[in-house]
């Protein structure tokens, strides 16, 4: 992520991904009073964890494809250099939604 100037632009945060790799996910509105995590907004939304679990498994299965396809498919995945972006953490600070290669 380049930061040659003091003012960052949205374009510097943009990731470009092939449409064949993405899966839509639904959100549900929820008021922050119903959330016990450190959400500081009045109204936010949630994603069902089961949905993310299912997508993770499906995406990984499809990536494997048939036979030797997995090596070619892995090259298609975006590569994240900034280690702070992901993976997501659980409440104890452990990484979730990540698979060891």
């Amino acid at each position: 992520m380049a930061s040659g100037t003091e003012h960052l632009t949205q374009a510097q945060f943009i990731l470009k991904v092939s449409a064949s790799l993405v899966y839509p996910v639904a959100v549900v509105p929820v008021h922050s009073d119903q959330v016990t995590s450190n959400v500081n907004g009045k109204l936010t939304w949630r994603i069902n964890k089961v949905n993310l679990d299912d997508i993770l498994n499906t995406a990984w299965d499809l990536l494997n494809g048939e036979g030797d396809d997995i090596l070619g498919n892995l090259l298609l995945l975006p590569k994240i250099i900034n280690l702070n972006v992901i993976p997501y953490k659980d409440t104890s600070g452990e990484s979730i939604y990540s698979l060891r290669s």
């Binding site: 996910v25 639904a26 509105p29 929820v30 995590s37 993976p87 997501y88 060891r100």
Partner: protein, 188 residues
């Protein structure tokens, strides 16, 4: 059935007197049951449509809090567009309980739009991780301009002609772990 209205013309205490058969013939239904009860209006009350706030119970909410934002610190608030398409109002969203909403209700099944969320695998050092991204725009390889919508049929396009541009968002796991239907949830 014959009914008659007699108006008592008294300026200080205008009164409408209803005389006649107060029961519908053959039905046994009282006429006054067909009219809604009249609620007294507070003359000083500001019409809610002109208010910047919504009142739900004893709490007030700013309507501006519902405007979707994409902030540099990756904090994101509710995307209301998919719900507006479904005819839901702001008040519906505020009064909605988690357990009463269909988990798939926010997705348009025909097309993806800017500010929708997508999930995909990414390579992070020696790991493969799931990333959640807010869509900013779509790019079709044969076109120079960016698009704000894309048909979902293009998700299965294997030629790589379609690209999704977006920003990875930060999620946190709810501390309660179990919520609503007994399933763990991820919050922004």
């Amino acid at each position: 059935m014959i009914v008659a209205f007699v108006a008592d013309i008294d300026i200080d205490n205008a009164e409408l007197i209803f005389e006649g058969d107060n029961e519908l013939e053959d039905t046994g239904i009282e006429l006054n049951e067909l009219f809604p009860a009249i609620q007294e209006l507070d003359e000083d009350a500001e019409p809610e449509i002109f208010s910047h706030k919504l009142v739900e119970g004893d709490k007030e909410y700013l309507k501006s809090a519902l405007v979707a934002t994409l902030r540099p610190d990756q904090w994101k608030q509710l995307v209301v567009r998919p719900f507006q398409v479904q005819g839901k109002t702001l008040k519906d969203l505020y009064s909605t309980s988690c357990s009463s909403v269909d988990i798939g209700s926010s997705l348009n099944t025909n097309e993806l739009c800017s500010k929708d969320l997508v999930v995909f695998l990414v390579q992070l050092a020696n790991k493969f991780c799931l990333a959640v991204m807010e869509v900013v725009s779509f790019h079709f390889k044969k076109e120079k301009s960016l698009k704000l919508t894309m048909g979902v049929e293009h998700l299965t396009n294997s030629e790589g002609d379609f690209r999704v541009n977006g920003q990875i968002i930060e999620l946190s796991l709810s501390l309660d772990g179990m919520h609503g239907t007994g399933q763990s949830t991820m919050y922004m």
